[in-house]
Amino acid sequence: MKFNLAMIAATAATALMPLAASAERGSDGEVKIIYWQAPSILNPYLSGGTKDIESSSLVIEPLGRYDPDGGLVPYLAQEIPTIENGGVSADQTSITWKLKSGLKWSDGTPVTSADVVFTAEYCMHPEGGCAQLSKFNGVSSVDAVDDLTVKVTFTEPKPNPYGPFMGGQSPIIQAAQFANCLGAKAPECTDANFGPIGTGPFVVTDFRPNDVIQLVANNNYRDPNKPAFASVTFKGGGDAAASGRAVLETGEFDYAWNLQLAPDVLAQMASGGKGQAISAFGSLVERLEMNLTDPSPSLDADTRATRKAPHPFLSDINVRKALSMAIDRELLVEVGYGQAGRPTCDLVPGPKVYASGNTDCLTQDIAGANAMLDAAGWAMGSDGVRAKDGVRLSILYQTSTNAVRQDFQALIKQWWSEIGVETELRNLDASVFFGGDPGSPDTFQKFYADVEMYANNFDGTDPQAYLSAYRCGGEPKPESQWQGENINRFCDPAYDALIDELSRTSDLEKRYALAKKMNDMLTNQSFTIVPLVDRGRVSAHSNSLGGVVLNTWDSELWNIADWHRK
């Protein structure tokens, strides 16, 4: 029965093929999307979660987005402002955006610069708890010049002025709808948070938090022929395997997001023939972080894992380098990620222009690592563990609980034992490990371990903020309630100078060079950070869904207006 229906649908689709080329709005029926993490809210300013940012990208749009290569594409703006076209002032203290003319909200009212100004006001409100506040860092004012022109002024020159209103994290919301939702009142506006009025290709008709969203095509969308689909069902919940199955094996859904599955499981699903898995790479890097401070429990709380107590053996660069040399990254990728990963030696693996492209760590060299440790005076003991001046190379290696990470831990422990390093493994629940509770001894910030492993990335395509995290003094410490981004407690005045230089430099070529230099200082020059795998994104779509272009620099659904039925 079902098979017959599929045949009829396929025949009908073939018959309609010539029409599809000149498709009009809503001609392709329904598209069904499944995200195994269910969206909780459609307002990215109140939630930092990827699921919420991506689902809301169907409805609300920023002035410009990033394309799959990391390039900038105007959405609501006429063009991307640059110094060349005069949109960015020569001293880089302001950027002027011009809206496309004739834009309408889905309720039919015009989009004006007042909405853009309001969006900034909404997020920058001190009591709002805006999740995207860092996008508005350094903004001194946002003013409407005329109905279609908005000028963002910064307190100091901003070489990368594309923080506010750029990318899925920072879309424009309607001033009229959110007018009474500023600051502490933000959570009270349930209707607005669940059904924002937007400019995007679809309009919410029913939002059920953590379950399902139903949307229909926006009649006021700026391109009269788009979107090709008349409605969207956006289901959430379950797990990655189930959503992969729904697209690749049963064909119930058209698109499944972020299939973090073992490579063989995914390959077996894809052999079902109902759809295909697609992958793309962004800036997410699974890495080992070396603790440069002493996490020993014998130290008192004010000294433990702070810069007052340097690490007994990881402060020796030979040890850090040996630990990196002992790892076979190719094998890690094969075991854990398959097509969704590739070995890397860089903290910034992309976009291409910013990536150093180091390859020196890719070959495993256990003999070389042993020789180096011997030369550095770490003598092999009778128990197979190296020691020097009574300090044994015994490592506590922690990460979050996750099947792939535990496989990695076991493999790496084995390799390290071959170079005379003893390893104790520990895994912690992700909600504790990544939760910044200063009272918990188990957070990644507190780093009460010698080595820890997790993945991190940066928003957008500019790594400046990401690389600036390793500033001396920016480390988590008791005085800062264990908050801070310099997880390794790295401290190098030369590096700090480069951070300052990067924040002043606007010439793109020079920025690329600086970023590469900084990346190298952290990775293959100091082995403070030992990158393992450049983790891509794997999603899947059905064979009948056309127009999907996987984008890791912005929302995956960035071009849903172009999706169509093949």
Partner: protein
């Protein structure tokens, strides 16, 4: 009986208040952070501001009494407003979920139909199957039917739903293509056609849940029947010349039902509590799925409210079970 009921209800109030305090303290002391799911790209200062916006800056006792006030004073007012069109709760702050920033009770009400449909039907089906199986297994103890029944209930007991659920999906959705593997919560039953669609998507979750519940109840029923079948009054009934049918289905069954009724009544709160794993496996997205996602996201107001509602239901159905004894067994009187 009425006096007893009232006495029990009054006693339930301090019990429930104590339970709510225990739940709150447990959640308070448990590790975890509502910002743990926010990507690492959001800087710590911003996360701190977000925590403050959630009200986490306030001391624990203030948050507890705020929750008590919101749950016991404001939420009933909201219910009253919704039922009678009054305006008691206007402008008052309700119990707000941290994940969705919307009132917890609204989501609970939205989720209840799915859970009641799937878990409720499974429970009903299970009870209807379990009772006859239990009765017949006991009556023909060690027969082929009894042995087969024991085997199947053992499977039902020992195979967890995260296995049996995925197994039936692979068989019936992937291989045979009979049933959808993903439950459509937006589906509305309006006519025969749509009712069949609803039945189709309910078959697999109901099957998996009913197997488990049947196993439990049929074992209880069988054991209880066996206890009674050897009693003197059964011999007397047979000696009087009553037919086997009357002996078993009237005399023995009624007496055997007493412990089984407790088991069935105490299982009813579980219907409202949803079936966490089965709901996840079939994407039913009912109360069980709501609870587990709230726990994962450290959404304390949601977890607190849901757990407390379960506590209320359990206390209530305990009372109902006690009262039912009185109806089944005339010797039990509470006054």
């Amino acid at each position: 009986m009425l006096n007893y009921t009232i006495r029990r209800l009054v006693l339930a109030v301090p019990t429930l208040l104590f339970i709510s305090l225990v739940i709150f303290m447990l959640l308070e002391l448990a590790p975890g952070d509502p910002m743990a799911q926010v990507p690492l790209t959001v800087p710590p200062e911003v996360k701190e501001k977000m925590r403050e916006a959630l009200g986490l800056g306030q001391p624990a006792h203030i948050r507890f009494f705020k929750w008590i006030y919101q749950f016991f004073v404001i939420e009933p007012q909201v219910l009253c407003d919704a039922l009678f069109g009054t305006h008691f709760a206007e402008g008052e702050l309700r119990v707000i979920s941290w994940q969705t920033r919307s009132p917890v009770m609204d989501i609970v009400v939205q989720r209840l139909p799915q859970t009641l449909w799937v878990v409720g039907v499974a429970y009903l089906v299970a009870v209807l199957i379990a009772l006859p199986i239990g009765v017949y297994s006991a009556y023909r103890q060690y027969s082929f039917f009894d042995q087969a029944g024991t085997f199947i209930t053992m499977i039902g007991f020992s195979v967890p739903p995260f296995f049996s659920g995925v197994l039936v999906i692979v068989i019936f959705s992937v291989q045979l293509g009979w049933f959808p593997s993903i439950y459509d919560t937006t589906h509305k039953v309006t006519d025969w056609e749509s009712f069949m669609v609803q039945l189709k998507q309910m078959v697999m979750p109901v099957m998996v849940l009913a197997l488990q519940i049947t196993s439990q109840i049929s074992r209880f029923m069988r054991a209880s029947m066996l206890d009674n079948l050897n009693q003197d009054y059964v011999r007397t009934a047979r000696a009087k010349g009553l037919t086997e049918r009357v002996v078993v289905l009237v005399h023995v069954l009624r007496n055997s039902m007493i412990p089984v009724v407790t088991v069935i009544a105490l299982g009813i709160p579980q219907i409202f509590g949803g079936a966490i794993i089965t709901e996840q496996v079939f994407k039913v997205n009912g109360i069980g799925q709501l609870l587990i996602t709230a726990i994962q996201a450290n959404d304390l107001p949601m977890v607190q409210t849901l757990t407390f509602i379960f506590a209320v239901l359990i206390v209530l159905f305990n009372l109902i079970a006690d009262l039912l004894y009185g109806f089944l067994d005339p010797r039990i009187r509470y006054d």
